[in-house]
Amino acid sequence: MDIPYTSQPRPDTGIYNAKVGIWLFLASEVMLFGALFSTYILLRVGARPEDWPTGLLNVPIGTFNTAVLIASSVTVVMAWASLKMKQFNRFKLFQAITVLCALTFLGIKSFEYRDKFTHYEVWKTDGTRITGHLEGKPMFMTLEKVKAAGKESILFTPDLHHYSEGKKAMHERDHGDHKAVEIPVAQIKRLSAFVPAHSTYFAIYFTLTGLHALHVLGGAVVMAYLFGPGAKMWFTDPDRLTNRVEVSGLFWHFVDLVWIFLFPILYLL
């Protein structure tokens, strides 16, 4: 006995196996991201507004990345529709674009990450805080590392505004060249790049986007497989290949859907 309903739907439920499987999986994904969104809400409500960074992420880049994901969502559904219309070459084209979109998204995301890892905040002993860049643009610098290197002071290029001044201030374009200032190590209470340990905001930012990026990566691998070696199934079991493309597409739409929520809550609010 072979396993039934791998390509044809079961008459009474009207669905084939993999579709049931993927929807169940997506249900669990809803709970996974739902728990993280709940965490976001609780941490944000619990944080003092001046401790919750806003306006530090690059909105144009984030918007572009959103558009990339939306475009890939269109192409992935087009790839499936092409198979339904028996246009194998069109499927290949759309599938390739989807994979490229996924890789573009990941490339841009890693660029954004790097940007944060070299952007710093300094808490001074007098209670003031400034954000800016360290000389030489090092990544992951901390006060302990500065002290361990035996430095007396750091050369710091401050930003025009600190995020605690509010969203409006952060929306002003940061024109003009800034002068680097020297800050004695003795005056520094804490120094942190915008890494997860910086604050609960960056903790949840990196956790959510990191987990999302892993999903994008996973989706890209599956889609690349269906574009490459997996596509051969077209000549043996076209219905099953169409199902596989549909199922991977459902996953991909979900990843897009998560990003639709992530973008405003992390970049804009």
Binding site: M1, I3, N17, G21, M31, L36, A197, S199, A203
Partner: protein, 611 residues
């Protein structure tokens, strides 16, 4: 004569599978649900034994604090080093063992045994399916489980030892302990959760999609229903813990403060963290899984009990529909009761009232299920074989476990009982003489199907009576200890504060623990030792019976109705010689006017055989 009384391999079964699979493909990287089920079962039984040994060593330390552990003390020192210097269990080691006993028993032993092993082996057979819906996902599920188990096991041997913050791993304690045990625990848990998710997706999809023709929802054996609900619990309750695990891992390795509050001091110094997190959030996310998990442990056990009781009373189970709807109710309600584990966190009265209400409501379907089983016994001519004995013992034992949970569900009484040995006694009654007894019953009951041989009945009875007596010797005293105020998780069993009394104006406001209560530790220790001894016949019985047990003379040695008994023994790859068609409900025993006292589900109405 029954038409099924032939053990010869059915012609046509082997024709479908020309290529002989090699050893690795057949036994290690198998995609056959039956092999995976047995793999799950054996691995889980090994972990069950391992978790039991951890507990035995802890019981020695509790009864005789600071004295070298007999027999294995030297080995502990050899393997683990200073934490077991001179064979004495240090408090750190006690904490490790305590945390890992809970983790191993819940996530590596009982769930894999109840869900992974029995679910995998029996569900596709009972619904008349050739295999699970996604055989390769099934294999991946088992492999993720093994990986998670290995990570957990290895964590004992890393510097600093395994996780020490209890199986609940509350932050900030879990994050603040400077050793790497917790990191291993979290990574291991992520693998185990992944394994459960893959398994759950597979089970639910299989039950929805692969039911044989005629196997309508209300003709499913109750065991399948139980696994179906369990699948949903795992599917939807585990992800929040996975999220929490990822966040605690971030706290541990990336220095974030998800669960660490502002101003946290560790070791008398302000911790070097951003702060702003919430320790309570971990508890919420943990118990959002934690409570459904209780029903993950108990529902499959109820399913097994139902099958065995129907088969051995030779009459239909009483209230099949009530059972099904109760199981669904339990599944639904178990998602909204979790915070009854958290009354002592300073929860407000409104929220506490909500959770007390739902907690009381969820006890109703459990009682309905138990009542249905009890009524099913009424008027039956009961066959007292080993599986039936275990199931009969399950009923009162689970009853004790369930009813003693009610005082914990009320905030007022929970204030007194929270975190005492009473809690330990309560949930062990549910899981140990409850679930584990049902699992034993399942092993004795399905063993002939898996191997074609019966297990030894005499040694089965020795195993049963010994287990029943000593389980109670171990757990019954804990109720008394807990009610007298003995706190759990104390490395010396409370010796340190046994004599501590506090008097205010001549009134004893904190009373020490009486000698009577402390001496019960010794009794529990010996109860545990004898409990271990009576497991020896079981272990030997399992392995001995594979080769030397009494051969079954029919594919259906228990004269059962459900489909797994209508296959060849043991079922070949692909399970059924011919696709079965189902014509009736699962428990048609002693139907008036029928020639035999049971009618298999695939028998047509005319009484003639399908195959």
């Amino acid at each position: 004569m029954q038409a099924t009384t032939h053990t010869m391999p059915h012609a046509g079964v082997h024709e479908a599978h020309h290529e002989e699979q090699g050893f690795w493909r057949k036994y290690i990287f198998s995609t056959d649900h039956k092999v995976i089920g047995i793999q799950y079962g054996l691995t889980a039984l090994v972990f069950l034994l391992f978790g039991f040994f951890l507990m035995m060593m802890m019981r020695w330390q509790i009864a005789h604090p600071g004295q070298p552990i007999p027999l294995v003390g030297w080995l502990l020192e050899r393997v683990l080093g200073d934490v077991a210097a001179k064979g004495v269990m240090s408090p750190d080691l006690y904490n490790s063992f305590g945390a890992m006993h809970g983790t191993i028993m819940v996530f590596l032993a009982i769930v894999p045994l109840a869900f992974g092993a029995f679910g995998n082996y029996v569900v596709p057979l009972q619904i008349g399916a050739p295999d699970m819906a996604f055989p390769r996902v099934n294999m991946a599920s088992y492999q993720a489980y093994v990986l998670g188990g290995i990570i957990m096991f290895v964590s004992f041997f890393i510097p600093g030892g395994a996780a020490q913050a209890g199986w609940t791993s509350y932050s900030p304690l879990a994050t603040s302990i400077p050793t790497d045990g917790q990191t291993f625990w979290l990574v291991g848990m992520i693998f185990l959760i992944t394994s459960s998710l893959l398994g759950a997706v597979n089970f639910i999809a299989t039950i929805i999609q692969l039911r044989a023709p005629g196997m309508t929802w209300m003709r499913l054996p109750f065991f399948v229903w139980a696994q179906f609900v369990t699948g949903f619990l795992l599917l939807l309750a585990f992800p929040p813990l996975e999220a929490a695990g990822i966040m605690q891992l971030m706290d541990k390795v990336a220095g974030t403060s998800f669960f660490l509050p502002t101003g946290l001091a560790v070791g008398g110094e302000l911790a070097n963290i951003s702060g702003g997190g919430s320790p309570l959030l971990w508890q919420h996310l943990f118990w959002f899984l934690g409570h459904p998990e209780v029903y993950v442990l108990i529902l499959p056990a109820m399913g097994i009990v139902c099958e065995v009781i129907a088969n051995n009373t030779r009459k239909p189970i009483w209230g099949y529909k009530s059972l099904v709807y109760s199981a669904l109710c339990i599944g639904f309600l178990s998602f909204i009761v979790w915070a009854h584990h958290m009354y002592l966190t300073g929860m407000g009265t409104k929220v506490a009232t909500f959770f007390q209400t739902t907690t009381m409501i969820i006890s109703i379907p459990s009682v309905i299920i138990l009542t249905c089983f009890f009524i099913s016994l009424w008027g039956g001519s009961i066959r007292f074989n080993t599986p039936m004995l275990f199931c009969l013992a399950f009923l009162p034992m689970f009853g004790i476990g369930g009813l003693t949970g009610l005082p914990l569900g009320f905030a007022a009484s929970d204030l007194h009982l929270h975190d005492t040995y009473y809690v330990i006694a309560h949930f062990h009654y549910v899981v140990a003489p409850g679930t584990i007894f049902a699992l034993f019953a399942g092993i004795y009951y399905w063993f002939p199907k898996m191997t074609g041989r019966m297990m030894n009945e005499f040694w089965g009875r020795v195993h049963f009576w010994g287990s029943l007596i000593f389980m109670n010797v171990v757990f019954q005293p804990m109720f008394a200890q807990g009610m007298s105020g003995m706190i759990r998780r104390m490395a010396d069993g409370g010796a340190n504060y046994a004599t501590a009394t506090l008097q205010k104006q001549g009134v004893e406001v904190i009373g020490g623990l009486s000698d009577k209560m402390m001496n019960l530790h010794t009794m529990i220790l010996w109860g545990a030792v004898f409990l271990a001894l009576v497991q020896i016949p079981f272990i030997i019985n399992v392995f001995w019976s594979i080769k030397h047990g009494k051969k079954v003379t029919s594919d259906n040695p228990w004269n059962a109705t459900t489909l797994e008994w209508q296959t060849p023994t043991p079922p070949p790859h692909g399970n059924f010689a011919h696709a079965p068609t189902v014509h009736r409900g699962p428990y048609e025993y002693s139907v008036p006017g029928h020639s035999s006292d049971f009618i298999p589900q695939n028998e047509t109405d005319k009484g003639s055989r399908q195959h």
